[in-house]
């Protein structure tokens, strides 16, 4: 049960009450891979996970394990382990008995069960709590029991449904490292559902970004981070500034766009066109906060540069004037909110600018991405790893 070559989802979909909770999911997962399903609530990622687990029946498509159809099997016969968002620990059983449950269902010998349970519990560092009831444990500890319970079976696939979302921020970071460590040492194929892009980027070998039941893009963290294929994916990957615009002209891989709603109703930026664009097209421009260079507008003191951040302010992509409205302290740098027209832009600066001061934001051309407005026409990248 624990070794397989590939898990393939073909056209997997689930239609319920006239709505496609999930549609057209094509994905091939290799053994040992860590795949993250990323998206906001309602995007279908949990539905996909529950369909994989067998807890929800498919209305379309099939799931194949090494070529064998498994979507017709009930969950108890698929041999997948699952970690639930609410942990779902059996409240009347101790930590030990919780972890032993799956092994008992498999009919493993008692001595063997004891050994493996002990190993699993020490793997998640809960040796001192083995006899406690779940009600006596903290959230993080319960989470670790849930993980131990799933991995002790050495399942062919581990499914995790937003396991960290009920934990506080610091614990989330610690547990994230734990999960990564476990994955590296056990090598179990994992499908992980989350809405937190940082989590997905740090844990996954590949990410699947979803929206309204459909896949938007599949790729490695690097691919998604550097080359998102739509503004929706870019939004998830930290391109916090998504601005509607219209194409003025295109030349090669570059496009000049005009941004309404910025100062004086028309600022022009040059950026990299993603996909085929033509003059007059409605687009969205995506820029990361850290790619914006914030420069104060006004008198320049001789010999002192007015640039306030390290971002390159050259390459003439155009400059957006605005007023500083918010400055947040983030330790080594500041998050700056710049109001321009009726849009708020987010940027970073190493020294805090004056609130209310006039500034200009610039970004290098290759850091300004121009995407078509229309999302559904986007074809995701190649699905096989």
């Amino acid at each position: 049960m624990s070794d397989f070559e590939s898990l393939e989802l073909r056209g997997v979909g689930r239609r319920f009450g006239g709505v496609d909770a999930l549609a057209g999911l094509d994905l091939t997962i290799k053994a040992g891979e860590f795949v993250a399903l990323l998206g906001p609530s309602g995007c279908g990622k949990s539905t996909a996970l529950n369909c994989l687990a067998g807890l929800l029946p498919l209305t379309h498509g099939e799931i194949l394990l090494d070529g064998r159809r498994i979507d017709t099997l009930p969950p108890e016969r698929r041999g997948f382990g699952m970690v639930f968002q609410s942990y779902a620990l059996f409240p009347h059983l101790s930590v030990e008995k919780n972890v032993a449950f799956g092994l008992q269902m498999q009919g493993v010998a008692r001595a063997e069960i004891d050994r493996r349970v002990r190993e699993a519990i020490s793997l998640v560092k809960l040796g001192d709590h083995a006899k406690k009831l779940p009600g006596q444990l903290s959230g993080g500890q319960q989470q670790r029991v849930a993980i131990a319970r799933a991995v002790v079976l050495e399942p062919s696939l581990v499914l995790m449904d937003e396991p960290l979302s009920n934990l506080d921020a610091k614990l989330r970071l610690d547990m994230r490292t734990e999960i990564r460590r476990l994955h590296q040492s056990l090598g179990l194929t994992t499908v992980y559902v989350t809405h937190d892009q940082e989590e997905a980027l740090s844990l996954a070998d590949r990410l699947v970004v979803m929206r309204e039941g459909r896949v938007q893009q599949v790729g490695t963290p690097d691919e998604l981070y550097e080359s998102p294929t739509s503004w929706y994916v870019a939004d998830f990957m930290g391109y916090r500034n998504i601005l509607p615009a219209t194409v003025v002209s295109t030349s090669g891989s570059e496009a000049v766009v005009e941004l309404p709603g910025t100062a004086d109703g028309g600022v022009r930026l040059t950026g990299r066109a993603i996909g085929a664009l033509a003059a007059g097209d409605r687009v969205r421009v995506a820029v990361r906060p850290e790619d914006f260079a914030v420069s104060a507008v006004g008198l320049v003191e001789t010999g002192v540069s007015t640039g306030l951040s390290g971002g390159s302010s050259s390459a003439g992509s155009g400059s957006i004037p605005g007023t500083v409205s918010v400055v947040e302290y983030h330790g080594r740098e500041h998050a700056v909110g710049v109001q321009t027209g009726d849009t708020m832009l987010h940027a970073r600066a190493s020294s805090a600018p004056q609130v209310g001061g006039a500034v200009a934001l610039t970004a290098p051309v290759e850091r300004v991405l121009v995407f078509p407005e229309e999302l559904d026409a986007v074809v995701p990248q190649a699905v096989a790893a």
Binding site: L55, G81, P91, F101, A150
Partner: protein, 308 residues
């Protein structure tokens, strides 16, 4: 801090505060109406009744001896009366057990959504609205010697002569099940919905089939609720009265304790004996309730996570 002027003030404040922390504050006055009703309509009559039991009539004392405890002597020595304990128990225990056990699979199946679920649930719960008299009437009409059931079976040829389904133990048993099942079913359904569904989902992913899920996860979490439901259904069944009369054999095999008490009260005008029988009835019920509660305390009774 200057002590003399402030000390009395501090003492009063802290006393009120301390009392409030123990729950003693003006809102306690809200208990008064309830207490008054409880004392007037329960505590007083009950104590009066207990008092009655030790004031036996002269006839009773003569017949049974024992002085003030003549009623109790009569109760334990008169087989006609004493056997009513066993008779009532033989009706109430099986009825309660059946109602609880039969409700489990029905409640389990009715968890899922399906067409006609609401209709089916209403049908199952409807008998609660009928009351014992209407149920008895129905039973006599349908299950009596000339009743629909017997006539149908005779027509088909399955039986040669009519089955005795009423005016005996069976009649009362049917009545207890018809009126008790909806009650047990409603209670158990609600306990069942209090179990977090993700627990079963987790058990499924760990390889448990339906029986293993039921036995290892659902049943242990349901058990305290089953115990409570059993207690309530048992008490209801043990105090059976009209059914024993209407569809039973009141002076024969279904002479339940409440009937004995009524006989003492209504026919023999012996209030103190009636009180005695009623008291003993309560005592027997109490024994069973305490025993079941004791067993229940051994089970896991913590939160089961669901909506309840």
């Amino acid at each position: 801090m200057s002590a003399v002027g402030q000390r009395p003030q501090r003492a009063t404040a802290s006393l009120r505060h301390r009392l409030a922390e123990r729950g003693v504050d003006p809102t306690l006055l809200l208990l008064v109406p309830g207490l008054v009703v409880a004392v007037a309509l329960f505590v007083y009559p009950f104590s009066y009744g207990i008092g009655l039991t030790v004031q036996p009539t002269a006839a009773m004392q003569e017949q049974w001896g024992g002085g003030v405890l003549a009623n109790y002597v009569a109760f334990f020595r008169d087989p006609f009366v004493f056997d009513s304990i066993g008779i009532t128990m033989r009706l109430a225990l099986p009825a309660a057990l059946f109602n609880v056990l039969a409700s489990i699979p029905v409640a389990m199946v009715l968890r899922q959504r399906f067409r006609g679920k609401r209709l089916l649930t209403s049908l199952l719960v409807l008998p609660i609205t009928l009351g014992t008299v209407l149920t008895a009437q129905g039973l006599l009409i349908f299950a009596g010697r000339q009743g629909w059931i017997n006539r149908a079976l005779l027509e088909i040829g399955l039986i040669d002569e009519p089955l005795r389904l009423v005016n005996n133990y069976l009649g009362v048993m049917f009545s207890l099940v018809i009126t008790g099942f909806p009650f047990a079913f409603l209670l158990i359904s609600s306990y069942l919905s209090g179990i977090d569904p993700s627990l079963e989902q987790a058990a499924k992913t760990l390889g448990a089939d339906w029986w293993q899920r039921f036995r290892r996860i659902i049943l242990p979490l349901l058990a305290p609720g089953l115990a409570t439901t059993f207690i309530l259904t048992f008490v209801l069944a043990f105090s059976v009265f009209p059914s024993a009369r209407l569809v039973g054999d009141a002076m024969g095999e279904t002479r339940v304790m409440s009937l004995m008490a009524f006989r003492a009260f209504g026919e023999q005008n012996d209030y103190s004996m009636a009180s005695t029988i009623a008291l003993m009835m309560g005592a027997v019920e109490l024994l069973v309730v305490v025993a079941v509660l004791g067993l229940r305390s051994l089970l896991y009774r913590g939160t089961t996570g669901g909506k309840g």
